[in-house]
Structures are given as structure tokens and as C-alpha cells.
């Protein structure tokens, strides 16, 4: 039964991917992408990666989907011009050939993967006790591969600076995005009043259990960012001007705490990002608590877009 379900799921994912390629209107492709993200979430569940499924559900279907739908609507007027630029048949055939070769090479790699598969699961299991956390992914993210996580937090910050740098000169330091208006007594405002309190509880819950069960700061931060964006879209909140001091401090707070603890490791444990014996779990907790608000704010501001309204 599960095998049949997996086959259906894989076919549906492929079918929707084809749809995002062949759909005439970009909006239809974007809606297809939302559905595609939802199905990928289920695929992650079937690959026994519940942590990844949580991330994909919050980011792939939720944040990316909403962003693509909004962008597709805004660019609707450019569709006809783009269609005229469609390359000719020879180029399309050549592209299909290249794509087929890439896919075939990957498929051959998939069926000829070594057996038994190489794995770091046993080594992770042997050393997880030293970190004090129960969720192996949290152990990997914040102890064994902490450098990746630190760099990732900084890459996200760079992406946000990239978004800010796209502001027109007159709006630099101003409020991101356009003015959002909505009926204050309408259904959207109602949803944006009821959902965020629940969403904040769920986000903290997903974050909290991340120490021992699937969940964690990335998933929690994505949900928090989505809830804030909902309030903004309903006109109940406005994005703050990005030149505010508190924003700058909140954004760098998480990475700074992470780096400070990492640097302290040079002295106390002999290596950058190493934790002294017995202190691993509390230090991991401190880093996670520091990263959660920074990540949530960074993701939210990336989604809010470039500053467009100058501060008066």
C-alpha cells in the first residue's frame, strides 16, 4: 500500500513540475508551484525526514508560494512580451537534449549507488550523547556541523542586505514594500487577528521540541515570519523603517552570539565552535534562543522586499 502511495506521490510531483514548465500563464505556474511544494512535503515524510518536511511545509508551500503568487500578479502585464521571446524549435530541441542527458546521468547515478550505503548515522549516534540533545539533526546542526549553520545564518543575512540594496535612493532606510490596505472589519483582518497568536504558540512549540524531536529554529522562525507577514498584509501592522537601530541589533544578535560562543570555544575547548565538556547542551540552547528571533526577523524582512517608502 505504502509503495503504491509513494508511486502516486512521485508521479504527482513530476506532473506538477511539468505543469510549472508548460503552463501558459505565470500565475498558473505559481499556483502549481504551491501545490507542488505541498506534495514535496509529503514526499519528505515518506523519505522519513520529518524535520525536512516541516521546513519544506513552512518555506516551500507557505513563504515561497505566497511570494511567487504576488510577484506573478504584479508582472502580469509583461507576459505577452515574454511569450514573443520564446526560443525557436532548434533551441528547444537542444535544450530538451541537454536536460535529458542531465536527467539520465543522474538516474544512472541513482540506480548505481553503492550498497550498503555509506552513512554517518552510527557515528552520529555514538557521539550524540556528548551534546545532550535528543534530535540528531539538532546535534548535527549545532555541534558536529556548527560551521555550516553559522555560515547559513550569515548567508541569509547577506540575502537580506542584497534585498535592501535594491531600494531606490530616495527610499533608502525607509519602510519595505508598498502600503498595505485592507478593510479593518473584513475577513482578512479577522484571520490576521486570530491566527498569529496561535501561530506564535505553534512556532515556539516546534522550536522547543526541536531539541529532542523533529523541529527547530528554522521551522519556528519561518512560521513566525509568516505570521508577521499575515498581519502586514491585513494592514494591521506595518513594516518598520529598516534604518531603525533596534532592527540592526536584532538582525545581528543571533549570529553574534553564535560567533562569540564559537570564539570562546577556542579558549575553553581548543577549537572554534567547540563546546567545553558538559556545557554543550546549555550553550546549544543559548545559541538556538539567540538565533530564533534573528532568523525570524531576517526571513520576514527578506519577504517584505526592498524599502520603497522613505521615512519622513
Amino acid at each position: 500500500m505504502i509503495d503504491a502511495l509513494n508511486a502516486v506521490l512521485a508521479l504527482l510531483v513530476l506532473g506538477l513540475a511539468v505543469w510549472t514548465v508548460v503552463a501558459r500563464s505565470t500565475f498558473a505556474a505559481a499556483v502549481g508551484f504551491v501545490a507542488y511544494g505541498m506534495l514535496l512535503t509529503l514526499a519528505w515524510v515518506q523519505l522519513q525526514s520529518v524535520d525536512v518536511a516541516l521546513t519544506e511545509g513552512a518555506i516551500g508551500g507557505g513563504l515561497t508560494g505566497a511570494m511567487l503568487i504576488a510577484a506573478a500578479s504584479r508582472l502580469r502585464g509583461t507576459e505577452a512580451a515574454a511569450r514573443a521571446e520564446r526560443p525557436g524549435l532548434p533551441i528547444r530541441l537542444a535544450a530538451a537534449l541537454v536536460a535529458a542527458c542531465v536527467a539520465a546521468a543522474l538516474a544512472i547515478a541513482v540506480v548505481s549507488l553503492p550498497d550498503p550505503a555509506p552513512t554517518l548515522a552510527y557515528e552520529t549516534a555514538d557521539n550524540l550523547a556528548a551534546t545532550g540533545v535528543g534530535n540528531p539533526l539538532t546535534g548535527v546542526l549545532l555541534a558536529f556541523r556548527a560551521m555550516d549553520t553559522l555560515l547559513e545564518a550569515i548567508v541569509v543575512l547577506f540575502a537580506m542586505i542584497g534585498v535592501w540594496s535594491l531600494a531606490p535612493d530616495r527610499a533608502w532606510g525607509g519602510r519595505p514594500g508598498r502600503v498595505q490596505r485592507a478593510d479593518p472589519d473584513g475577513i482578512l483582518a479577522y484571520l490576521a487577528r486570530v491566527l498569529p497568536p496561535i501561530g506564535i504558540v505553534v512556532a515556539v512549540y516546534i522550536f522547543w521540541i526541536g531539541a529532542d524531536l523533529p523541529g527547530g529554529k528554522f521551522q519556528g522562525a519561518s512560521i513566525l515570519a509568516a505570521m508577521w507577514l499575515l498581519a502586514v498584509m491585513a494592514g494591521l501592522a506595518d513594516a518598520p523603517p529598516v534604518s531603525r537601530k533596534w532592527i540592526r541589533f536584532a538582525l545581528i544578535g543571533g549570529p553574534v552570539v553564535f560567533m562569540a560562543i564559537g570564539a570562546a570555544g577556542v579558549v575553553t575547548a581548543g577549537a572554534f565552535l567547540a563546546y567545553p565538556d558538559g556545557l554543550a547542551k546549555p550553550l546549544i540552547k543559548v545559541i538556538e534562543w539567540a538565533l530564533l528571533p534573528s532568523l525570524a526577523l531576517t526571513l520576514a524582512l527578506i519577504l517584505a522586499g526592498a524599502p520603497e517608502r522613505p521615512v519622513r
Partner: protein
């Protein structure tokens, strides 16, 4: 088959039926607002019956409350989303 299993089979089966009805309605009904009507049946009753069927199988009261919370959240989301979609649909095709 125990009584609990029977209950699950009946409720989940009924839930599956409403998802079937929702999809068929979404495909067969003539205009956007009637399709929306079919959609909400799947949202409210289909998911509700699936949750009802799974309730006796969870471990502990908290697990059950979580399932019910998921259903309530989905109700809130689908109710709000349906309203919003309906307004866009009516703007595109104003009633005669």
C-alpha cells in the same frame, strides 16, 4: 476487527468520500461560487471525519487535542480562504 477499528474504518471512509465529493464538485460544477461550495465540503467534513476516525488511535489526551486543533485551524484557514477567493471570483465575474 475490534469496535475501535470499525469506528476508524467507517469515519475515515466517510471522510474519503467527502474528499471524492469535493473533487468531483470542483470539476463538475458550472461556476466558481458553486465549486467553492464543493471545496468547503471536503475541507470541513472530509478532514473532520478523518480526524474523528483517528481520534481513538492517538496516545493520550494531548495527542487528541492536537488533532482537533489541526482540524479547527484548517476550518479557520479554509473559511477565510474561501471568502477571499469568492471575492476575487465575484470581481472577475460580477453577478448579473
Amino acid at each position: 476487527m475490534s469496535l475501535v477499528d470499525l469506528f476508524t474504518v467507517v469515519a475515515v471512509g466517510a471522510g474519503g468520500f467527502f474528499f471524492l465529493a469535493g473533487s468531483v464538485g470542483l470539476l463538475r460544477f458550472p461556476d466558481a461560487l458553486t465549486r467553492l461550495h464543493a471545496l468547503t465540503k471536503a475541507d470541513n467534513l472530509g478532514l473532520g471525519l478523518v480526524v474523528l476516525g483517528l481520534l481513538p488511535r492517538v496516545d493520550g489526551v494531548l495527542g487528541g487535542l492536537k488533532l482537533i486543533a489541526i482540524w479547527l485551524l484548517a476550518l479557520l484557514a479554509s473559511g477565510a480562504a474561501s471568502q477571499l477567493i469568492a471575492r476575487v471570483a465575484r470581481r472577475a465575474n460580477p453577478p448579473a
